[in-house]
């Protein structure tokens, strides 16, 4: 009430005005420093960087007959566009339809993003706020696993899934028996979860360990247990870090080809795998490849543009500490 007596504007307006003033000041300093040469150079690089994508994007909207008989740059003089490529591509049937593979990608990516985050949060909290012997050694080990090329782990893990483990002649774990089972995603989910954990634990630990000690001490004095601190304090505060990692993991799983190639059982491939196959089999059917590629790019780009801030933060956190 007092504040409104002095300044009739709402807090929000004040905040907005302040921000505008700050931006203006920033722009002023920027103008002083900015140079025409740098701007031109940056624009040139940006254009070069965009031409390849733009070319295929334009191609995906051209008539199939036009695509192979004239360059995509001729659309500026002779536009003849269609969306039928997208319709045809979605229904195109190789080992499965492109639409089905798109759905498979969604089915793969949701659990493969949520499950590792939940498990990593538990471990990250313990690494950050519970003292135990051998903690540093274990942490360095987890961190080292982050760099291990997954190629090294693929084949034994696949054998583990299909034939299990035998010690001597005792079958200790009989395997999952999912070879060739159509419609099963279990192996891909599990593999992605396992491969995601080192980075997930590392990133979330860095964030959780940086939370103020005072809050933790105060909670402990109030009699909160580790369980309560984890659930009531750490989880809500760690939300930005969770979002950052979720985006990284979403992009990683959606864009993955290698894990899908090895661990798909039956013919339920994600869209990256189907596109790779199409690129081999129908290498010159550009109406198909262009539309398919852009269908596959849409979800990551949506995530990218909607949550860019968290994405950048995740990259910064992942790299600067390493």
């Amino acid at each position: 009430m007092i504040a409104t007596d002095i300044d009739p504007r709402s807090a929000r307006q004040v905040e907005k005005a302040t921000r505008r003033a700050e931006t203006a000041a920033f722009n002023d300093s920027k103008k002083r420093l900015s140079s025409k040469g740098a701007t031109i150079a940056a624009v040139i690089i940006a254009v070069i960087w965009t031409i390849p994508t733009f070319g295929l994007l334009v191609t995906s909207f051209r008539q199939p007959a036009d695509i192979t008989t004239s360059g995509w740059w001729t659309v500026f003089t002779n536009p003849n566009l269609t969306i039928s490529n997208y319709v045809n591509t979605l229904n195109f049937n190789d080992t499965e339809t492109v639409a089905q593979s798109f759905l498979n990608s969604i089915v793969i990516v949701i659990p493969a993003t949520i499950i590792p985050i939940a498990l990593a949060l538990l471990a990250a909290y313990a690494f950050a706020w519970i003292e135990f012997r051998g903690k540093n050694l274990l942490f360095v080990l987890v961190f080292s696993l982050q760099v291990v090329p997954i190629q090294v782990a693929l084949v034994p893990l696949l054998n583990l899934f299909s034939t299990g483990v035998t010690i001597g002649h005792w079958a200790v774990f009989p395997g999952l028996n999912l070879n060739g089972v159509d419609g099963s995603f279990a192996r891909i989910w599990i593999a992605h979860t396992m491969f995601a954990l080192p980075l997930a634990i590392f990133l979330l630990h860095n964030f959780i360990a940086a939370l103020p000690v005072d809050i933790m001490e105060a909670a402990k004095i109030d009699g909160a247990s580790h369980g309560q601190i984890f659930f009531r304090i750490v989880l809500p505060l760690a939300r930005p870090a969770i979002a950052s990692f979720a985006i990284l993991q979403f992009l990683w799983v959606w864009n993955d080809l290698l894990v899908a190639t090895i661990f798909s059982s039956g013919n339920n491939f994600p869209i990256t795998k189907l596109l790779t196959d199409l690129s081999g089999t129908y290498g010159q059917q550009w109406y198909l490849l262009s539309a398919g590629t852009f269908l596959a790019i849409i979800p990551p780009l949506i995530v990218f543009f909607a949550l860019q801030r968290y994405f950048v933060r995740g990259l910064l956190a992942g790299a600067t500490k390493g």
Partner: protein, 381 residues
Amino acid sequence: MSSFFQWLATLPSLLQVVVILAVFAVVVALILFFIELAPRRGRGYTIMRLVVAIAVPAIIVLVLGVYNDAVWLVPLAAVLGAGLFLLDRRARGGEGSILQLTAFMLPAVLLLAIGLLYPTIKTIIDAFLSNDGSKFVGLANFAYVFSPSNQGVLALINQIVWVIITPILATAIGLLYAVFVDRSRGEKVLKVFVFMPVAISLVGASIIFKFFFDYQQGVQIGVLNQIVVLFGGAPVSWLQTPYVNTALLIIVLIWTQTGFAMVLLSAAIKGIPDEQVEASELDGANAFQRFRNVTIPGIRPTIIVVWVTIAIVSLKVYDVIAATTTGQNDSTVISYQMVRLFQNLPPQNGGSSAEAVILFILILPFLIYNANNIRKQRLGL
């Protein structure tokens, strides 16, 4: 577990997501519930801890599934759980603290051990065994991999070229771009153009560039050949030309990684104190001198981090080769050969493992460097 997943596979795929997440949520809820109750005092809670310590390991073994002749594992797991319970009774952090810690850590540690640690060790062993794993063959797999028919030497050289060229160029261009946009208007918009490829899959990027490099008889539809034609040259089938194809495919990876380098370096440049920049301006340093003597030293740690990260990415590059040349015309790399040998009929398990080990050796310096860094950091805290 096997039958659960087989049952799950019969459901419509979107329903599978709901079911698996529901089951997972129940498991996590149980873990959290136990974490909450574990350190409480009183006889009831002690009994609860004892029951959980004995029952959970046994249940895990049962859920994983054991054959009849290995049922002895169930009581063994229970005994191990009981041992943990006894250990926990004398825990320094108070009764229940070890069990609580176990509940926090076990799921992740177990999965890491099964999914990364065990397979890595197994692969290293397999590299020295015959394809069916029955006998020790010494270095025969490595000899096989490097035999002329398998292009092992070529794959190794190509892989090393990838690892050296990609990070240097991606970091250099990313740095230049970061410096340029730092001094130009519309910085945010300009950044998006170079950053966007980071979100695009390597498969998508490969197809985008396959079209860019396209070659056909008559009219050219690929930009690169069109430029060649404009300057009066004859179009080239780029991806079929040995060595040229590797160079061009490296560009694909550079294209996707530059944005990553740019974002990190840009953030580092903004972290350089203004006073340093202004001081150098007052001293009459021109733009290049300022770049060399103020910017570069200020962001050196970030440059190294970016360089190492991109080098690791280019070690693992499989997608680009798989989506474009499939290793034809001398473009293959170790990480592609590894999958190819594994998918051979019959699978060349030994050879495939040997390729993986070579890859692992290539990555070892980065791993040691990174692990050392983090160890220093943690001891410094």
